[in-house]
Amino acid sequence: MSSWQFDDRAAIEDILRVVARHYGYDFSGYAYASLVRRINRFAQETRCGSLYDLKYRLLNDEHSFRHFLAEITVNVTEMFRDPLYYRVLREKVLPVLASYPIIKIWHAGCSSGEEVFSMCILLQEYGLLERTQLHATDINPANLDKARKGILPLRSMREYTANYQQSGGNQEFADYYTAMYDHAIIHGELRKKILFSQHNLVSDQAFQEFQLISCRNVLIYFNRDLQNRVLNLFNESLSPLGFLSLGMKESVRFSDISGTFGEVQTGTKIYRRKN
């Protein structure tokens, strides 16, 4: 067990500066408290006993940096997470999306893809998948590689099935994947409309006009300023009357764009652009 901890802001900022300069990833807008925990965890895992060790390792070992990236960005996700949210998507959002000849959806911060797979299942059930283009982006290329494969641990599938059912799904959930050994692979047909690409919400720009942007439980890791920047980016990337969905505890309320959006159903954090 490491007997030291980075909790000194200067030290943390030093590390972030080094990372930004060397790898182009700017974490300075991340929520500080969380960042401190993640960095400490990484230091402990890699047994970096000092700031110097940590910096040295990050600068000289790209593999270590990949690990660092994975640690800093928390990748908790599941299929049909928050079933109520998916229920509202089914009832209130998909009927509207159906009226677009080509539907464009962006999952920002898609992690290993569970949510975008869930979205594909919904679209498939509503017969919309064929005319939908989904963009799934994440900051971490490792996550994207994982997501492209569409392979999930089999043990999670039971929970996902329950989520699916609670979200209002009435098909056979097992029809959407093939179980192999201890893994399940989501059918390729479901995944073919997803374009996975790397996109860093901190620095990158709008690249398409979407009717739905889903960015759930990503903003919680950002500080207020960065949240504001990202929400503005989403606003720019949405078509008029487009939808934006956030995590259950996230909100557009304290951002510049709070006046431009209205919540589709209270508590689900699905917002719609008013114009």
Binding site: A31, R41, Q44, A98, S99, L195, D204, Q205, R224, K274
Partner: protein, 1145 residues
């Protein structure tokens, strides 16, 4: 009265004039008569004269004849001769003169006859000569005398007649004179009387006029005083309004203090003023804003300090008159001045709390009305400061809560990630266990394998331990999730423990000692793991505030007994001296949670025993440890163990820290015990002290108050309660519908023009209703506010007439509710009220008329409403022959927006006609599967639509390609595809185009390309070049196409890599490619690679466009074959420069 007077005056004056006229007439007539009479008198005199002349001549003739006789002198006959000539002539004249009077004429004729006789006598027989005898003469004379006498008598007759006439005429003249005089005298007397009466009347009228004038002047003075009073009052009231208006900035961002002082000083026209806000923490009044205040003026005052500070102690305004000259200064760029004047300090209170002070300076004494204004406005100002402060505070708190929530979720997620990993490890362990079990059966045969497997288990265990440490590292962040997960965590571990225990028990007797030992290690490790998990759960529970403290009267001696029993065995086993001391001055019991205290002591003691080698000593002593006046107990656990270095003493209470990284390996344990203890002690209201010397031992002292006090509920709890208190929505559940005024509630049909009257006076409501009906409106009448709202929601009227004073919900609130309601806010609201309130101007009402209202007023109100309704009528044109057969869309839309009209035509020609004829606000057109044809058709009306800025919505019922979409987007503003709820979408889009964007604001253009400060100049260098734009973002394609076409380039577009390759195959002469990276089908990297490798277009310039800005992206693009690279949003100047560079080669 006046009329009468003037009538009298006019009458009198008229009379006087008449009299004067009468007198004049009479006088004039009599003068005329007199003149006539005089003429006649003169005439008479003339006649008499002539008579006298003739008589004289006759006398002369007689005399001449006689003398001649007597004398015989011829000389005397001459007289006679002369008379003979003159007399006949005079007789003729005389005849002339009397020709008017027949009597006299007759007399004169007689005379003439007599004379003629005489003359004839004298001529004939009467001839005398000297020779004539005497007698003859005598006879002659006699005869002569006879004739003469006759002539004389005739003379007398004429003469007397004339004299008679003369006297008659003279008398007439006299008479006429008398009459004239009498008339004139009487006329003058009457005139005098009339004048007298008139003068009297005029004088009395004038007198009363003067009296009235005086009275009028008096009442004017009174009026002026009243006016002044009213003006003052008005001034005060409009001051209150103005100042209130001045501080009502909606956004809450402007500086309230500045607004207040500005508006107060501006309205009161004061030269200077300052506002101080009271800060409770420091008890100071801080100057927040000022007008024209010298920079030397003080900026902060303590309460009671200076005049501002002392004014703050009082509730009333403080006025400082007679301040010394040069006391205060006003500064401006032009100079500064100082003066005498006065200062007023207005303190602002809300209930019992001081909000601030306003200090105002005036060069002149403050007027009563200024003070009155300050008095009336200060409550409002205080309240608005209070409100603003509260709002800021609430907003801060809300933001804090949001942040805390986010932090909590991120912590949960982090913990969950850790937990998942732990779970994974547990799974692995289970799997290993499974293997172990299988091996058990084959253990004898494959002994070596078992060892190997055991190593794996050991490895797993180690990994588990590592992971457990990770868990420690993160789980200090309290997590409800983890607490709840305890069951799931323990279940698998329990099986491990049970199975390991079974193995080590070796009931079948088929394991050797070594194997039993291994199984025991598994069990031990598992137990450690369980302990670890329990500790983590404990800690997270404590930190999550899930542990409840249950205080009781704790007997100290029972604690002593407990810990003595617990550890005496360990002590004797390890060979450690174990003593417990109790100070006699301690009370028998203290009030605290016994279970927790013992938990802490157990932890301290087990540490002490752990780190104390054999032969050492562990001592527990109970003694009072009072601090100040707080009674506390100190329980020390002292050992003679390895001790803790000063540096590490800081760390050991932190969760997941131990004195030495190696300690755990030597002594075991999780290292969480002290953290848990520390947290528990904190909960119990105590503390832990540590003194230690490395190598000599440590002493931990648990200090607890005699009496446990529950902490006050935390701030966040109370905060949550506060937030849930929100605006209470208006309940429309129990609205009773009025039945006093009969209206059209049951008879409103779709499309009927409907007006809702909300008015509590049933009579006036009836009037309005009748009026509205006469204007052709169906009418609804509500007598209460909530009822009105209910009808508004249910019937969606075209217009609302609203009273202000209403029961249940007043008019202002109702107006606010209506305007805040998406569905109702477009309904015009006309207010008719007895109030006069300037809130109106911001309230969003259509218009306002004041009660009492007359017919004209009502007419005007209704015409305002009508004008509004006509002007706000929105028209939608549907071009379709195949769709929209029913009017479901129209129905749906008009439900919410009754001010909309739909028209439908079947083809474009007709549509064009319609569009040219009348104005439409939106066009919906359908396009069938032949997209290109549809676009061509629609482009026929493009010019009209563009010119009139009519948005076009395209409706289609087929799937389309990205290229089709691009084509459609070029001509339309929205594309809607047939789908089950398509009407809802159409409704949303129509709303957007008809209502939300009506203020000439285009849909917010997002920045795909950032225009440079100057419009790009077309220098012709790019002219005629062919460019292929590859991007799936339609907006970007449009923006780039516009830019490039302005440079006279020929633009071809492709939506993805595959299309780009196709385009390059068919258009061999493309000069340059702009390539997006993130695209479906084939991304930019692949497309570029193919262009270079497969199509062998090595020299075609390709500029990569990407939204990504990270350092590696550029290299990646170049590596894939891009000639150059530019990031989105595209800087136009930069892009054009880049293209010039690549095309110039």
């Amino acid at each position: 009265m006046n009329k009468y007077v003037s009538f009298r005056l006019y009458m009198g004056l008229g009379l006087a004039v008449l009299i004067v006229l009468a007198v004049a007439t009479v006088t004039f007539t009599s003068l005329n008569d007199q003149e006539e009479d005089n003429r006649w008198i003169h005439h008479t005199v003339e006649v008499l004269q002539k008579v006298r002349d003739i008589r004289y001549d006759v006398v002369q003739m007689r005399g001449g004849r006689r003398t001649f006789w007597f004398t015989g002198s011829e000389h005397f006959i001459e007289g006679y001769e002369r008379g003979r000539a003159t007399v006949p002539a005079n007789i003729v004249i005389l005849k002339e003169l009397v020709s008017d009077n027949p009597l006299q004429t007759a007399n004169v004729n007689n005379l003439n006859a007599s004379l003629s006789t005489l003359l004839a006598f004298w001529e004939g027989s009467g001839k005398i000569a000297l020779s004539t005898p005497r007698d003859r003469i005598s006879r002659l004379i006699f005869e002569e005398e006879k004739l003469l006498q006759k002539v004389y008598a005739q003379f007398e007759t004429v003469k007397s007649e004339e004299q008679r006439l003369l006297s008659i005429r003279e008398e007439a003249v006299n008479k006429s004179n008398n009459v004239t005089i009498t008339v004139v005298v009487i006329g003058i007397i009457v005139l005098l009387l009339v004048v007298l009466v008139l003068v009297n009347a005029v004088v009395s009228t004038l007198k009363s006029r003067i009296r009235a004038g005086n009275k009028l002047k008096q009442s004017l003075d009174d009026m002026e005083a009243l006016n002044k009073l009213a003006e003052d009052k008005n001034w005060v009231l409009s001051g209150v309004a103005e100042i209130t208006n001045g501080i009502q900035s909606i956004d809450g961002k402007s500086d309230l203090s500045k607004d207040i002082i500005d508006s107060v000083v501006a309205y009161m026209e004061l030269p200077a003023g300052a506002i101080y806000l009271y800060e409770e923490e420091t008890e100071t009044l801080q100057m927040m804003a000022a007008v024209a205040v010298s920079s030397q003026a003080g900026i902060a005052f303590k309460k009671g300090e200076g005049i501002v500070g002392s004014a703050a102690l009082k509730r009333e305004m403080s006025i400082f008159r007679d301040i010394p000259f040069d006391y205060w200064r006003i500064e401006s760029a032009l100079g500064k001045t100082s003066g005498k004047g006065e200062i007023v300090c207005v303190c602002l209170w809300v209930a019992e709390s001081l909000k601030g002070v306003i200090e105002l300076g005036s060069l002149n004494p403050f007027t009563e009305r200024q003070l009155q204004l300050l008095e009336s406005v200060r409550g409002t100002l205080a309240a608005s400061i209070h409100t603003r402060q509260s709002r800021i505070k609430i907003n801060q708190l809300l933001e804090q809560v949001q942040e805390q929530q986010e932090a909590m979720i991120s912590q949960q997620e982090e913990l969950r990630q850790t937990n998942e990993e732990l779970n994974k490890q547990t799974q692995e362990l289970l799997a290993s266990e499974e293997e172990l079990k299988t091996q058990e059966e084959e253990l004898k045969q494959i002994n070596t394998e078992l060892v190997e497997k055991n190593d794996i288990v050991e490895e797993a265990r180690r990994a588990l331990t590592v992971k457990a440490r990770e868990l420690e590292a993160t789980s200090k962040y309290k997590s409800e999730f983890l607490a709840n997960m305890s069951h799931e965590l323990r279940t698998p571990l329990n099986s491990v423990l049970i199975l390991a225990k079974l193995l080590s028990d070796n009931t079948p007797g088929n394991l050797n000692n070594k194997q039993i030992e291994y199984a025991k290690i598994i069990h031990k490790s598992g137990s450690d793991l369980l302990q670890l998990i329990n500790d983590i759960l404990d800690l997270s529970k404590i930190e999550a505030g899930k542990i409840e403290i249950l205080p009781e009267q704790m007997r100290i001696d029972s604690v002593v007994t407990d810990i003595s029993q617990l550890f005496s065995v360990v002590a004797s086993e390890k060979g450690i001296r174990y003593t417990i001391d109790t100070d006699s001055s301690l009370p028998a019991t203290i009030f605290t949670d016994k279970q927790r205290v013992e938990q802490i002591l157990k932890n301290l003691l087990s540490n002490a025993f752990k780190f104390t080698p054999a032969g050492g000593a562990v001592t527990v002593s109970f003694a009072p440890r009072h601090q100040f006046n707080k009674q506390r107990i100190g329980i020390s656990v002292t050992d003679t163990g390895i001790g803790i270095s000063p540096a590490q003493q800081q760390l050991i209470f932190e969760a997941f820290q131990q004195a030495d990284g190696s300690t755990s390996r030597q002594y075991g344990g999780t290292g969480l015990g002290l953290s848990i203890s520390k947290e528990l002690v904190r909960l119990l209201g105590g503390e832990i002290e540590l003194s230690s010397e490395e190598g000599k031992g440590s002493s931990f002292t648990l200090i607890l108050p005699y009496t446990y006090e529950a902490p006050p509920p935390s701030a966040t709890d109370s905060l949550r309660d506060e937030i849930t208190v929100s605006d209470k929505p208006v309940s429309l559940e129990n609205v009773t519908e009025q039945d006093k005024v009969e209206d059209d509630r049951g008879q409103v049909q779709k499309g009927d023009p409907t007006i809702l009257i909300i008015e509590d006076d049933a009579n006036f409501a009836t009037i309005l209703k009748d009026f509205a009906r006469a204007k052709g409106f169906k009418t609804l009448v509500a007598l209460k506010g909530d009822e009105g709202l209910l009808y508004a929601r249910n019937y969606l009227p075209d217009a609302i007439i609203l009273d202000v004073q209403l029961p249940v919900i007043d008019g202002w609130s109702l107006l606010k509710i209506l305007k805040a309601d998406e569905a109702l806010k477009n309904i015009p609201v006309h207010i008719i009220s007895a109030f006069d309130d300037n809130r109106l101007h911001t309230a969003g009402a259509l218009a306002y008329i004041k009660k009492p209202v007359d017919r004209e007023g009502l007419e005007k109100a209704f015409s305002t409403i009508n004008t509004y309704l006509v002007e706000h009528l929105r028209k939608v044109l549907i071009i379709s022959s195949a769709h929209f057969k029913d009017d479901s869309l129209e129905k749906l839309f008009r439900q919410k927006h009754p001010e909309t009209m739909f028209e439908q035509v079947a083809d474009i020609a007709e549509a064009r006609k319609k569009i040219n004829e009348s104005s439409f606000d939106c066009v919906i057109a359908d396009v069938d599967s032949n997209i290109a044809e549809g676009v061509r058709r629609l482009s026929e009306i493009q010019d009209e639509l563009r010119e009139k800025q009519i948005p076009l919505i395209i409706y289609l019922d087929t799937d389309i390609s990205a290229a089709d979409e691009l084509m459609l987007k070029k001509v339309s503003d929205a594309i809607v595809r047939e789908s089950p709820f398509v009407n809802d979408r159409l409704k949303d889009e129509l709303e957007l185009f008809l209502f939300k964007l009506q203020a000439n604001e285009p849909v917010k253009e997002t920045k795909h390309i950032t225009p440079s400060a100057h419009k790009p100049i077309n220098d012709g260098s790019l002219s005629g070049k062919k460019v292929l734009v590859v991007d799936d973002d339609m907006r970007n394609v449009f923006a780039l196409s516009n830019l490039l076409e302005s440079q006279e380039m020929q633009v071809t577009a492709a939506a993805d890599g595959r299309e780009a390759l196709e385009a390059l195959k068919t258009n061999k002469d493309i000069d340059i490619v702009l390539m997006d990276i993130m695209m479906p089908e084939m991304d930019g990297y692949e497309a570029m690679t193919r262009i270079r490798k497969d199509m062998h277009l090595e020299h075609l310039p390709i500029i990569a466009l990407t939204a990504k800005a990270m350092s590696g992206d550029r290299e990646k693009c170049i590596a894939a074959g891009a000639s150059d690279y530019i990031t989105k949003p595209v800087d136009t100047q930069k892009l054009l420069s880049l293209m010039r560079v690549w095309l110039s080669a």
